[in-house]
Symmetry: C2
Subunit: 224 residues, 2 copies
């Protein structure tokens, strides 16, 4: 059976290529040869081209007219801008969530946060990273605004390779959980301004943590 029936080849290709980029299987700067990708996935160039265009508008791929596509090269400056943008948008979502989350949503967010405490104490960074995506996703959803939520998700996906590494740093897990605690407390209490500030602080700390990692790796901006 052809998994994912109903979806077109273009969609599946876009998802697979995006996955390969996000996980680092395709390094930033790699050329994305249409014919090579077509051969690799056993399709023709047409759906490959459409998938690359789609990824181009989402920023994962840079398509240069008549000069081929490459995996988007993120400079240190662009990385900083991406982090600032994500911090601001997530903080906005947190503020809106504090204002408009339903009681059920608040309880679920609280429960999720509690569960992550166990993962942090156990040092299970892989599980924590997964739960972290769900945690931030719950806050996006709580903002009750699909436009902001989609944008935040897309930024998060683009930054995933750079964020994930920092969870392996010793002590980062516990600190992340503590920062989340401040966000959750503000949201549950309906304190909009405080939720905004706490989330901005949290993501900004993630950024400086990542910057420390990158500096330690010696210059090149790589996802590790």
């Amino acid at each position: 059976m052809d998994e994912a029936a109903g979806r077109t080849r273009t969609e599946r290709l876009a998802a697979e290529i995006a996955e390969a980029i996000v996980t680092g299987a395709l390094a930033p700067g790699s050329r994305l040869d249409e014919q090579a990708l077509a051969d690799q996935y056993g399709v023709s160039r047409t759906p490959v081209r459409e998938a690359l265009r789609q990824l181009g508008t989402s920023g994962l791929v840079e398509v240069r007219p008549r000069r081929g596509a490459v995996v988007a090269q993120v400079t240190a400056d662009q990385l900083a801008e991406l982090f600032v943008a994500m911090a601001e948008v997530e903080a906005t979502c947190a503020r809106l969530a504090a204002q408009s989350m339903s009681p059920l949503e608040r309880r679920r967010l609280d429960a999720l946060h509690d569960a992550m405490g166990g993962l942090a104490r156990a040092g299970d960074w892989a599980a924590y990273a997964r739960a972290n995506t769900a945690f931030h996703g719950a806050i996006y959803a709580g903002a009750h605004n699909a436009v902001l939520s989609d944008f935040a998700s897309s930024l998060r996906r683009r930054l995933q390779p750079y964020r994930e590494a920092q969870f392996r740093l010793s002590g980062r897990l516990a600190r992340s959980h503590a920062e989340h605690g401040a966000v959750v407390a503000a949201i549950l209490a309906g304190q909009a301004a405080e939720a905004h500030a706490a989330m901005l602080r949290h993501v900004t700390l993630v950024e400086s943590s990542v910057e420390g990692l990158l500096a330690g790796e010696g210059g090149a901006v790589e996802s590790g």
Copy 2:
């Protein structure tokens, strides 16, 4: 040589179709038949398909697999979400601009605001609408963050048909200019929080103005 040198047919098509949608020449909900568009623009279906996909990811067009593309139908709820998202993102840009605009950028913003005062007094709503785009663009640019700036621009483009109508309302021009005044004063003074609040207030007032217009038109969400 082909007029717009360097650009591909796909790019030109995407720009032209987007223009047609934004100006209302293509009404929301219209089917976008690939062959018909290809005939109309004198190209084959391939570049049309690629252009439609591209517009799909930017939200102007809804592409349904195997079921064709239509001009994105904006429901009243979605319109409200778009306005909230734009208000929040613009407010964020205003806050960042208050923090990081250069002296030159501040002077130019001030000059632009002054010039718009004349247009408002003259009641030249068409010129005011154009200058308004430049005004908000200057604030995006002043945030010094391409990611947020691009997102804000794309939201603004999507909402353009709904925003423009309200400038024709008597008195709206003067009030818009007064609201801008509060934003400019805060940015020039470097008062970040106040710049944020003033911009949020301004865009939210635009939203309620638009909602009044739509309600007055009698139900259907149209661009007028």
